[in-house]
Each structure stands twice: as C-alpha cells, then as structure tokens.
C-alpha cells in the first residue's frame, strides 16, 4: 500500500515539532527518515500510526484519508525503540495480541504466532517469559508482534537504537531480507546514517521539523542539498564561501606518497582508513583509503582531487546552522 503525508504540521504544548512535511512512500518501498535527535522524527511516525493528531495536513493510505482514523483501526504496524513488550504476558501472548483483539479464532491465532516467530528467527520461544529475553531477542519479538496482524505498512522507531556491535548489523541484515520477502511498505526512523542507507530505498532527511532532502542513498551522497546535509552525512571537506559551499567527498581525494601535504591523522574503521591531511597551502582535507598500507602518520603525500567528487551547494543558514558535526 502506498503511504502519503501531505503538509503535516504538529504542535505539542505550543511548540511546532513538525512543519509542513510531505512525503510519499510507494507500495513495498522503504523510506528511512533520518535526522538528529529532536528533529521530530518520532512525532512524525506517531502521526502516521495514529497516536498523534496533526494540527494540519493529511495522512493518506492508498489515497484514502486516514488522518482522523484512530490508531487501532489503521492497520499500521509499529515497533518502538526499546521493544515495549507487555511484561505480564508470555512471548506467544505478546505476539498473539494483535490477532486476539482482532477476534481471530484460536487456531488461526496460533498459526499467526508461529509464523511471525518463524519470520524473526525465534520459532519455539512462545512459552518464554518476556522478562528473560536478551535485548536482541526482545527487539525481534517486538517485530514479530508488529507483523502478526499482517500490516501492509510497518513503522519502525529506531529499532536498532538499543543494540550495539555485531548484533546490530545482523538484525539490520535480517530486517532488510524480511522487508523484501514480505513486500512491506516501511517507514523507518533513525539518527544513524549507516542504518538509514542500509534499510532505506530512499532517505528523507528531517531537520528541525522540516524535510531537508529526500533521495535514494546514492543520490543523497552524490548531491547533498546543502552544506548542512553534507556535514550531517559525515562529510568534512566543506568550505564556505559566501552563500555557496564547496563539498569534496572524501572518496574523491586520492593520496599517494609524494609531496604537497602532510598526514595529520589516520583512523581505521574496519577496512576503511580515514586519513586527515594538511595541504601545504594550509587547507585540511579528509581522504579515504582502503585495505592495509595506508600512509603513516606525519608522512608526506601528494593529493589529487577527482573533479567528479566536488559538489557546489548552497549554504544552510536556518536553525541548527552549525550543529551537525558527527565527530
């Protein structure tokens, strides 16, 4: 099912949290809503789920206006950041809650529970007490619970936020496989760029309640809307000049032994090494090297910039002007 938001505005205790947000998610497409904390991401998600009434704007599901339909009649699934499992019920009772309140007969309910647990890779855990689950398991059960009523639209609010390390990566891969298999329309909220890129066909960047840019991950990386977006995505080679800024993507900076610059820092992140350089003209640049054999700290290198990796963007002068440095 397609989901569309039209001019959504939300005011909470006099403050405008979400301003004039319009988004469209085609059927079986996955949209990641990315933004710093406080940008209004969760509020937007609550509007879609029907937990928050917008002060203006419309929520459309397959073209039908559901803005005034209460949450329990929308048929939209939602997974919260910290699982939020019902502590007084077993795993099976948690997962079977949706089918139960929908009035499904017992046999059907049990089949749905088994199916949902199977989907998240936790078949056979139905009789467990939810308080004995690990963080990753709890999050999977929360996902199974949201899937059991077979929603056509699934919302996820920082679903991996409480997890870390390899567990996070694994669940991220599992989620992607699951979304493809079920052909779900997904809206997924996160503050993590990597997670947004991994799980979203398209990424909408939310800044102070407004959409700054919506694009596929590759397009977003290639053509950030303005210098704020570039910086938020993790780019650091940004030079402001009046109302324009020049952004040099780090992968466009090529480094070889030679003359012209000094290596200030080398930070390895897995296979990728982020190299910080100072050119002899005083300009500092980030470059990315891959594999082993990156230049040593303090060594002299030559720098070449691929013109295809240089983007000229407007300078963002609105709220959060200087905030989003992800260092």
């Amino acid at each position: 099912m397609t989901l569309a938001l039209e001019g959504i505005d939300v005011q909470l205790s006099g403050r405008r949290i979400v301003e004039d947000v319009s988004l469209e998610v085609p059927s079986a497409d996955r949209l990641a809503v990315l933004g710093p904390s406080g940008a209004g991401k969760s509020t937007l998600l609550r509007v879609v789920a029907g937990l928050e009434r917008p002060s203006a704007g419309r929520v459309l599901v397959d073209g039908r206006d559901v803005t005034r339909v209460p949450a329990h009649r929308r048929g939209i699934g939602l997974v919260f950041q910290e699982a939020a499992l019902f502590p007084h019920r077993t795993v099976a009772e948690n997962v079977g809650f949706g089918p139960k309140v929908a009035g499904l007969p017992r046999a059907d309910r049990e089949a749905r529970v088994a199916e949902a647990l199977e989907l998240v890779g936790l078949a056979g855990t139905g009789e467990r007490d939810v308080t004995t689950l690990s963080g990753g398991e709890a999050q999977r059960i929360a996902l199974a619970r949201a899937l059991a009523p077979r929603p056509s639209i699934l919302l996820l609010d920082e679903p991996l936020g409480a997890l870390d390390g390899p567990l996070r990566l694994r669940l991220q891969e599992d989620l992607r496989a699951l979304f493809e298999r079920l052909a779900l329309t997904v809206v997924h909220v996160t503050h993590d760029v990597g997670e947004a890129f991994a799980l979203g066909d398209r990424v909408a960047i939310l800044r102070a309640g407004r959409v700054a840019q919506t694009a596929a991950p590759d397009d977003l990386w290639a053509h950030p809307e303005d210098d704020w977006v570039a910086r938020f995505l993790g780019m650091r080679n940004i030079r402001r000049d009046g109302d324009r800024a020049t952004v040099v993507r780090p992968e466009a900076v090529r480094v070889q032994p030679g003359e012209g610059a000094t290596v200030l820092a080398c930070d390895r992140d897995g296979a990728v090494v982020r190299v910080r350089l100072r050119r002899d003209d005083g300009v500092e640049l980030d470059a990315l090297a891959v594999g082993v054999g990156a230049p040593a700290l303090g060594s002299r290198v030559s720098v070449e910039v691929d013109p295809a990796g240089v983007v000229d963007v407007p300078v963002w002068r609105g709220p959060l002007d200087t905030a989003p440095d992800r260092e």
Binding site: A84, F86, H88, V101
Partner: protein
Amino acid sequence: MDRHRRALSHAHGGRRHAARAATAGIPVAFLAVFFAWPLVAILRRSLVVDGSLDVPVDVLTASSTREIAWFTLWQATVSTALTLLAGLPLAWALARFSFRGRSVVEALVLVPFVLPTIVVATAFLALLPDGVERSVWAILLAHVFFNVAVVVRVVGAFWAGLDQRLWDAAATLGAGPVARSLRLTVPLLAPALAAAASIVFLFCFTSFGVIVVLGGIHYATLETEIYNQAARLFDLRTAAALALLQLAAVAAVVVVSGALERRLGGARRPGRPAPRPTGRRRVAVVTIVAVSLGLLSLPPLALVVRSLQVSGGYGLDHFAALFDATPALLVTPWHAVLNSLLFATTAAAIALAVGVPAAVSVARGSRGLDALLMLPLGASAAMLGFGFVLAFADPPLDLRSSIWIVPLAQALVATPFVVRSLAPALRARDPRLPEVAAVLGATPSQVRREIELPLLARPLAVAAGLAFAVALGEFGATVFVVRAEWPTLPVAIFRFLGRPGADNVGTAMALCVVLMALVTAAALVSQRAIGRASR
C-alpha cells in the same frame, strides 16, 4: 489557518481538562465533606462562642495543658531518636549486602508496622514484667518496635539506591573507612534520615493506642487527652481547644516532613548488585539481623503465649471465651470480629473508590491533591474521630446513629495509604504499552481490559489489602464514633483491657491474636493472590 489550529488544540485540551477535573473531583468532594468539615467543626467549637471569636486562652495556657504538650513533644523526640538508633544497623545490613533470605527478612521487618497499635501496645503489656508494663519505657519501646520498619524502609531503600561506586571512588582517592563514613555516607544519607525521622516523629506525636494502653492514667499526650476530655469527661470545650493545639502542631510537622520527603526524589538504581558480606562484616550482618529479628519477634510471641496462658497451665480457654457473653461488651467478642470484618471491607471499598481516582490525579502530577490527601494521615485519628462527633451530630448530616460513620472514618484514615501505594505504580507505567496495543488494533476498552488493568492488578490488590488492614486495626477514630452495640476488634480489646481481672486481660490477648492473624492474612493474600496475572 493558525487560529483554526489553535482552536482545535484548545478543544482537545479542554476535554482532557474536564476529564481530569472529574477524576480529582471524587476525592476532593470526599475530603471536603469528611475531612474539612469535621476540622471546621473543631475550629468552630474551640474558637466561636455565641457567634463571636473567643480563643480558649485559659485551656491553652493551663499548666496541665503545658505538661501534656511537653510530654507529647518529649516522648515523640526520644522515641524518634531511639528508633533511628535501632533501625540504622538493620538498614545498613539490608541495603548494603545481599544474602540468602534477605527478602524474607525485609518482609518480616515490615510486619510490626502493619500491626494495629492496640495490638502492639497489648503485646508490650504481655511482654514487659509488672512495674515496667505501664511506664514511659513501655511507651518508648512500643514506639521503637512499631516504627523500626519506617527507618529500614525509607533509609534502607535510599541507601541501596546509592551507587556503591561512590565509595569505591572515595577509596581509590585515599579515603579510609572513617573518612568514607563521615564525608560520604552521612551527607548522602542525610535527606533519607531526615525524612524517616520526620515520619516517625509524626507517628509518635499522634500516637494513640500505645499511649492509652501503656500510659495508663499517668501519661497523656494531646491525642489521648482529647479522647479523655471528650469521651470520658464530656468537656467538649477543652477537647476542642486541645484539638486546635494538636492541629497546629501536626500541620507544622506535616509541612516539614513533606518538604523533607520531596528532597528524597525518586528511586535510583544501584550501580552494581550488593555484594555478599565477608569477614568481619559477615559477622556484623548476621549479628544485626539475628538480634533485630529476635527482638522484633518477642512482643508478638509474648502475646501469643499470654493468650494461651490459663490458670495452672496452657489452654484455649481465652479463645473459647470469645463466644461467651461478657459484661465488657453488649455483644459477644466474636461479634466484634464479625463487625470488624464488615466495617473494614466497607471501608476498604470506600478507600479504593476515593483513593484510585486520587492516585490517578496524583500520578499525573497534582501536587496539591497529594498534599491534601496526606493531611488525614497526619491529622491524627483521635482528632478525626472527635471532628466526626462534632460535625455529624446535627442535620444535614446526622450520622451519629448511622452504621456508616465507622467505615467512613476508617476509610478516611486508609485512603492516604491507598494513594501512597498506588501512585508510584501508576507513575511507573510505560506509556508506550497502551500505544503499542492500540497500534496492534486494540480498542480503547480492550487496551484497558487487556493491558492497563492486568498491569495494575497487583498494585491494586496491595492497596486493597493495605486499606483493609489499616481499617481493621483503626482505633483512634473508631473509638470516638462506634456505637456500643457494634464494637470493632480494637475497641473490644480496649474495653477488656480496661476491666480488672486476669480473664479480661486473657480475652484481650486472644482478641489481639485474632486481629494480628487477620491483618497478617490480609497483607499476605493481597501480595500473593494475584498469581499469574501479575507476573
């Protein structure tokens, strides 16, 4: 457009405000009629004569009043100090260490606090040797016995919540055990100590059952003297003047203790689980727990033993006597048991009907209602009873002969306990759970039935059990308002104790054992009955 939006959000807020006002309305109305009105009646009786202001200066400045006020203050202060001394070692052992059976010890320590004051007083009569049994020592000891739980609970919970790593950090910074105690433990615990002390002081200041039983004719506090003047000497003017004094003193203590309690803040989480005690500490912990539990179990044990003691040995004669007619009461003692169960059930129902909406309002952050509801707790039982007698003697509300006056008075005393035990549970609710349920398709009524009620079943059962136990043991207010043909258990015990002869004392002891069993059963059932649903 903007104006339209604002109007919309106002309409939204307006409905919510109306619902909130309705929730707060029930407890406020109840308190207005059954708490504020009796207080006004006391003020009127003490300050207004023939329509004009007339402060009863003679009563307030009489030397007997001064003596009583001094003794009230003195015994409360000394009782508080002794309770802190007795409770702190146990608080330390329970807060700082984990050991097998700790939760059992914690539960046992709370038992004295749940026991009715009249039972505690009678237990000390049974325990203490002749000559000491009706003395100031008996009063002080009974107060310590009754209130140790407060210290262990308030200070212990706070202590356990302090991050053990603070002490570790201090040690790595070079602070020895003494420096750690003086510079860390004492200042960190100060707010909890102050809060516990103020609560204990309030209970001892307004203590009624313990003083009337153990103080005999020699010792009187403001609280017992109100009863003495009003119910024995029928001097309502003096009683009202004393109640005025008591009201002022209690209000001051309530304000101070409320402020101290707020400084405590919410619950915290320990940095890491408490360690098992080792070496010298292990000896200390074992000794403290064993001695404390031993001392705390002595009075109830003495009570049971004395209830079984008959001339020339042991037997159930005193219990058998409960079914016989007696000159002490208009009915058999057994009827008092039934009356108590009936009244306490009704009172608990009223207390829940008032306390649940009140707790909802308090959990939503209504400070005013919170303070208002704690007033009956501090306002002292005898004063409430006296206020009831004055306020509900004439139309429009003449309840003197009504059977409802007893459960109403008991409910007033029990309601603060309901609110206090329920509000934290309500506050701790996860707001996302009803939302998750709604998103999964549950209608608002299904959300209430499937999620909110089951999650509150246990706190509600605990609150109900607590209200029932408090109402069952309520003495100070009940003794004012109860009619002679409907005695409750505590009143019956009091009547038997007031009569000479070993048999009457024996019957009182037997009744105390019955009351103690009922209260303990109520507490246990409310904690456990809700088996699976409360997991």
